[in-house]
């Protein structure tokens, strides 16, 4: 078992290298191509001119947001899949994103976004929080948080939310309609620096907090009763992890819309590669999720430049293909 921690370190190193490579690519690629060497010069404080502005003010914030959102969504995916012991649960299964989308749509329809652009993430976060609250209240019975109930209620809330959005879409006018549709597709184009810092801070903070629960998550993989037998305070752990995952989803969706598939595919893929132990899975998924989203975003920015594809479309297509590939290659009889 000694070789296991070495293997974990190798994985972390490998993923860090990949993530750094993707980051360098993201900083270099774009309508104004900047050679990688120049990127490093600018990052280390030398060089200047318009390229400095592009790197520091446009591409770097976008890169950081990509890491925050991709990492955060993957982390939420790992937590939820571990909690529900179901590899098909993802951050958007529980309807939290649906709540955020309704909040944002209402915000656009009522024209509140003209008051200030910050009302958008606030409305999204409020929408997400109301769903979290609703889910929680509906699923706690006799002091027990029923995961089964949580999943069912979440899926239903998701349906209701998408119907509500369709209703709002049907009743809104051209410009609002476009705004809502674009927001739903998700984008890492976020001009507000403090929001980016908030998203990055939140996802790194929750990654650290989740690490306090690595052994509880591992024990929960055996089922709630087995985890109890191993001395895990199951009720408290479930609630805390649910709250962490929910807040991660709420922040992500509020800041950059519904970027699908990252939270489903990355944890799944990482489980295949690094194994089921959450001590490595959490960090590996965070890194890989960040790298995956940044890579997809770079594609989205460059494929039909100067026009931009919605990043949610790229993650959906790329993620979907990867997912099908992994699933169909699964050995018979294997789970997850």
């Amino acid at each position: 078992m000694k070789h296991r921690s070495r293997k974990w370190l190798m994985w972390l190193l490998f993923l860090t290298v990949i993530a750094s490579g993707v980051a360098a690519l993201a900083l270099a690629a774009g309508p104004a191509g900047i050679p990688v060497r120049k990127v490093f010069q600018i990052l280390s404080g030398r060089g200047g001119g318009i390229e400095q502005t592009i790197i520091w003010d446009i591409r770097l914030p976008r890169l950081l947001l990509g890491i925050a959102i991709g990492g955060g969504l993957s982390l939420a995916g790992v937590i939820l899949q571990g909690l529900f012991r179901n590899p098909l649960v993802e951050p958007y299964t529980l309807g939290i994103s649906g709540g955020a989308a309704v909040g944002i749509s209402l915000n656009i329809v009522f024209g509140l976004h003209r008051v200030g652009i910050l009302t958008m993430p606030v409305a999204g976060f409020l929408g997400a929080c109301s769903v979290i609250f609703l889910l929680y209240v509906l699923s706690v019975k006799r002091k027990v948080l029923s995961l089964h109930g949580l999943l069912l209620t979440g899926v239903m809330i998701n349906f209701i939310a998408s119907s509500l959005i369709m209703l709002i879409l049907a009743m809104s006018r051209g410009k609002d309609l476009q705004g809502i549709v674009f927001w739903i597709m998700g984008s890492l184009d976020e001009p507000d620096g403090s929001l980016i810092r908030l998203a990055l801070g939140a996802s790194v903070f929750f990654l650290a907090v989740t690490y306090f629960f690595h052994k509880d998550l591992n024990a929960l993989a055996l089922g709630e009763e087995e985890a109890l037998h191993l001395g895990v305070p199951v009720e408290r752990t479930k609630r805390l992890l649910f709250t962490i995952a929910s807040l991660l989803i709420g922040v992500s969706v509020a800041v950059s819309g519904m970027i699908g598939f990252v939270g489903l595919v990355v944890p799944h893929f990482m489980r295949k590669m690094v194994g089921h132990d959450h001590r490595i899975l959490l960090a590996a998924s965070f890194l890989a999720g960040g790298a995956f989203l940044v890579f997809c975003d770079t594609l989205a920015r460059t494929v039909i430049a100067p026009l931009e594809l919605p990043v949610g479309v790229v993650t959906g297509i790329l993620g979907g293909i990867i997912f099908i590939f992994v699933l169909t290659r699964q050995e018979p009889g294997g789970t997850h």
Binding site: L228, H229, L230, G231, V232, P233, H276, R279, G333, T335
Partner: protein
């Protein structure tokens, strides 16, 4: 001493256990028997701090088990469920989870001691050869042994098992029960288990508890409990009892309907 006092337990307001009194001393080898639905598994749930009683209490060495921290309790009492979970992790990873209650709050990796104890647990259960196999890819008997090894890795003083021999062939049944008997004597591990097989219960347990409709019908040595009259009343089917000529322990045989007339005559 693990003690249940006037224990009433149930699910969704339906009472399953109705006033159980039981005390188990250190070093005992106790079997819990009874028909399906008599509350055996519920009793184990109540004893292992999984199910909170509606009335009465369970105490360990005089302390209500619900006032003991879950982690502390897991270091004293470990439980093996009816079906060992088939999870996609290796046997060794699974057994190492038994060390979870011994982890420090900020401990990240297993210590040498943890690895040694897991090794020992695998050795005792004879599954060292399976360490790198996935839990999903081993047989039911092997998985049951792995579950016992995981419970042993918790270094408990009390081991509670729910039908450890269910779905196993006779060789595996004997292997597991021999192992438990050995641990009971050799390591002074107290064993409490639910058994469906009355013959195995009579053969291995030093004391039996017979449950019926959530109440304790009879407590005592196998000879006192496995009596024809009591069993026929509780199980509602005619049986033949006797003595195993090799071990001189009681055995119980069921009588099929077509032979019941003959049994009445004899």
């Amino acid at each position: 001493m693990l003690r249940a006092k006037d224990l009433v337990c149930g699910y969704n307001g339906k009472t399953v256990l109705d006033g159980i009194d039981l005390s188990v001393e250190r070093g005992e080898f106790l079997g819990i028997i009874g028909p399906n639905g008599s509350g055996k598994t519920t009793l184990l749930g109540a004893l292992t701090r999984v199910l909170e009683p509606a009335r009465g209490e369970v105490s360990l060495d005089g302390k209500n088990i619900w006032s003991i921290a879950p982690k502390t309790f897991a270091r004293e009492v470990s439980a093996v469920s009816q079906n060992a979970p088939a999870v996609p992790m290796t046997v060794e990873e699974f057994i190492l989870l038994g060390r979870v209650p011994h982890y420090g709050d900020l401990q990240f990796l297993e210590t040498k001691k943890d690895l040694g104890i897991a090794e020992q647990a695998m050795h005792v259960t004879g599954i060292e050869g399976l360490r790198d196999r996935l839990m999903t890819r081993i047989s039911g008997g092997e998985r049951q042994l792995a579950a016992i090894a995981r419970a042993l890795a918790q270094e408990p003083r009390w081991l509670v098992l729910d039908e450890p021999t269910a779905h196993l062939d006779i060789a595996h049944q004997v292997r597991i029960l021999d192992l438990l008997a050995e641990l009971n004597v050799g390591s002074n591990l107290t064993v409490i288990m639910v058994l469906h097989d009355l013959n195995l219960a009579g053969e291995y347990c030093r004391r039996l508890l017979l449950l019926h409709h959530g109440r304790c019908v009879r407590k005592g040595s196998p000879e006192e409990v496995l009596k024809q009259g009591i069993l026929e009343e509780v199980y509602g089917t005619p049986v033949v009892t006797g003595k195993n000529i090799v071990s001189s322990r009681p055995f119980v045989l069921a009588v099929p309907v077509k032979h019941q007339e003959r049994k009445k005559i004899s």
